[in-house]
Amino acid sequence: MGAKQTETPFERSGQPQHHAGDAEKHRIGNGGNGTRQAATGPRRLAKALGWLSVGLGAAELAVPGRVSDLVGTRNNDPLVRSIGAREVATGIAILKQPYSSKFLWGRVGGDLVNLALIGTAAKARGSRKRRLIAAAAAVGGVAALDVLCSARLTRAAEPIHVTRSITIARPARELYDLWQEALPQIMAHFAHVYTSADDRSHWAMNLPGERTIQWESQVVERRPGEFMSWKSTDGAPVASEGSIRFSPAPRELGTEVTLDLSLHPPGGKARESILRTFDFVPGTIAEKALRRFKSLAETGEIPTLQGNPSGRKAATTEMGGLTL
């Protein structure tokens, strides 16, 4: 019994179909400079070390006797368990904040403690030297990785890249113009923006904890109806650059709009708090900006809860937002 299927955009457009031109268009980083890495090197390594900690710690908690046996130390279940607990906690902390070097330096500390314990065990009578040496080598190897990773995270201010796309049922040139005209409205979900002549825009963003950061942005390149890029001027607390690309969508679907954003957090103390805010937020901000842009372009309005009545005693005007 053939059920009449409703066509999806993908059936209509015949995706996935890759033409020669598509490969060029879809290559990561095209239109920008260089390649984009989704999870940059040290962060990936940090995550791997985080999982290693969790796995190792879980084993030390669950079967401390077997771990001691494997390593060559004498059985001391409470000690191994406590090491395991620390290991799991460190691992979880690393996984939650893989950009942060402090937990990785914590791993290094733990490695040194482990090495010291192995050293003590080696001095004891009747120790199993071969196992201990192997264990020490393993710990030493991991410690080296930990140091490497921590150093890189501390030193480098790894940039954060996000790319988001959306398809809007309007022509590219119309969207190119609308993006600039309505930028303050589109970005209202996270920052107060105003544009001035000479291709500059001024941004003020509220951070949690009642801080505000402000910066200015300058248009770098324009190809009307196709592409626009910008970067923050000197003195911005977080250096950033971005671009927006408009390319025809298949069939009558309109235009594919791609927003690329890069953030370069500074080193040092400020980095921690800024990174905590920015680690997950840029993707959401970019996605939401595109959604708001699409609604404005297709319907002339952005969906809103302004004036939405409720039984809450607080402000009667509510804007839909990121926090509940």
Binding site: L253, T299, E301, L305, G307, N308, P309, E318, G320
Partner: protein, 390 residues
């Protein structure tokens, strides 16, 4: 104005709240003449669906009179009597244009709340959590209706409120569910659930040409309605060892051609899997109850169609292998009201469909918390409570 607000799990209170106002030029303000309770409300009232905030005005199935329109509203005007479906739809995105109204791209101000579970945002909905937009709902004296030209359907003369109110949600949902079954002459359609949606699905199946409709529930008064109104054969699942076996016997061993789930996540089962669901719920490890849906998957004939109207989030022990090995077609959606309401209004005008029997009890807005308490516990033979806020 007065409105029914959710103040916490199982805590509904009528509060005095600000009146809604025109915000965008395509908005209208509707003065609500009647609204009704829906089974899917119970999911968030009981705390199973996240992103409610204390103070949210609830209610997603309503009708009323246009009080005020924005300057770009062309198709309706002040004084028009209209019925409004729960999904807020722009009419301009790909989904609206292809009759997939509840998937509208442009009416959810909180898309980031849906992306973790759905990957994409869907249409905003009145009175149904902030993941679905957080819009104030219809159990209130007034409602702001965005995109009024799309979402307000004029009620023809000569139809009473109770004949039309259920065209907001219960009837289009049921009708869509029946349409999903791709019914051919001679087909047998089994429907789990004899609440508002289930009964409408049964009547819809009949209107679309099903030969036999089999209705499954446990409440005698609802099974009686299925018999009387939809000409359904009935199964009381508390009186049989196995609904699946009973359905097989009733269909010559073949199984029904299509199965409609109009129960959803509050499913009450009697078997081991139900006990498992309840235990997990008690331990706050719950995922949705799936008794009715699992039965439907088992009972459906090979190569048949499963039409899922019940509202769910995540389900444990879901027999995806059974679906695959039996070659079932699965169709599901939140109802695309804007597609069905005009047809249903036509059916009503021609006397082919009159859902007013669903309106078993009527309440004022101030009595609404009690209405929900009775609705939730299915007291006094209640099928749907109608609330009259003005």
């Amino acid at each position: 104005m007065r409105a029914l607000c959710w103040e916490g799990v199982n805590d509904l209170r009528v509060q005095t709240v600000p009146d809604p106002v025109i915000v965008n030029p395509r908005d209208a303000i509707v003065k609500v003449t009647a609204s009704t309770t829906c089974g899917s409300d119970l999911h968030f009232i009981e705390g199973y669906v996240p992103t409610m905030r204390a103070g949210d005005i609830i209610g997603h199935e309503f009708m009323g009179e246009i009080l005020e329109v924005g300057r770009e509203v062309k198709k309706v005007k002040k004084g028009d009597r209209v019925v409004v479906p729960p999904s807020i739809c722009c009419g301009n995105c790909w989904y609206c244009k292809h009759d997939l109204w509840s998937l509208c791209d442009n009416t959810n101000p909180n898309p980031e709340l849906q992306e973790p579970l759905l990957g994409y945002p869907t249409a905003g909905t009145y009175g149904y959590t902030h993941a679905f937009g957080g819009y104030a709902g219809g159990h209130a004296q007034f409602v702001r209706v965005p995109h009024a030209d799309n979402d307000c359907f004029k009620v023809p003369e000569g139809l009473r409120d109770e004949q039309v109110l259920f065209f907001s949600d219960a009837a289009p949902t049921g009708f869509m569910g029946a349409e999903f079954c791709n019914i051919h002459p001679g087909d047998i359609v089994a429907v789990w659930g004899c609440g508002g949606v289930g009964l409408m699905a049964q009547q819809g199946a009949r209107l679309l040409g099903a030969d036999r409709v089999i209705a499954i529930d446990r409440l005698p008064e609802r099974l009686q309605l299925a018999k009387d109104r939809a000409g359904a054969e009935i199964i009381d699942y508390t009186q049989t060892d196995s609904v699946v076996e009973t359905l097989k016997e009733m269909t010559g061993g073949r199984g029904p051609d299509s199965c409609i789930d109009a129960v959803g996540m509050d499913s009450h089962g009697t078997g081991v899997t139900h006990a498992y669901d309840r235990a997990r719920q008690a331990l706050h490890l719950h995922t949705d109850h799936g008794e009715a849906l699992r039965e439907a998957i088992m009972a459906c004939r090979k190569g048949g169609t499963l039409s899922i109207l019940g509202v769910y989030e995540l389900m444990d022990k879901f027999p995806i292998g059974t679906i695959m090995n039996k070659g079932l077609t699965v169709r599901s959606a939140h109802q695309h009201g804007q597609k069905y309401v005009p047809r249903l209004l036509d059916c009503a005008t021609r006397g082919e469909l009159d859902p007013s029997y669903l309106a078993t009890h009527t309440f004022t807005l101030e009595q609404a918390p009690r209405a929900y308490e009775m609705f939730r516990n299915k007291r006094d033979g209640m099928v749907r409570a109608v609330i009259r806020p003005n």
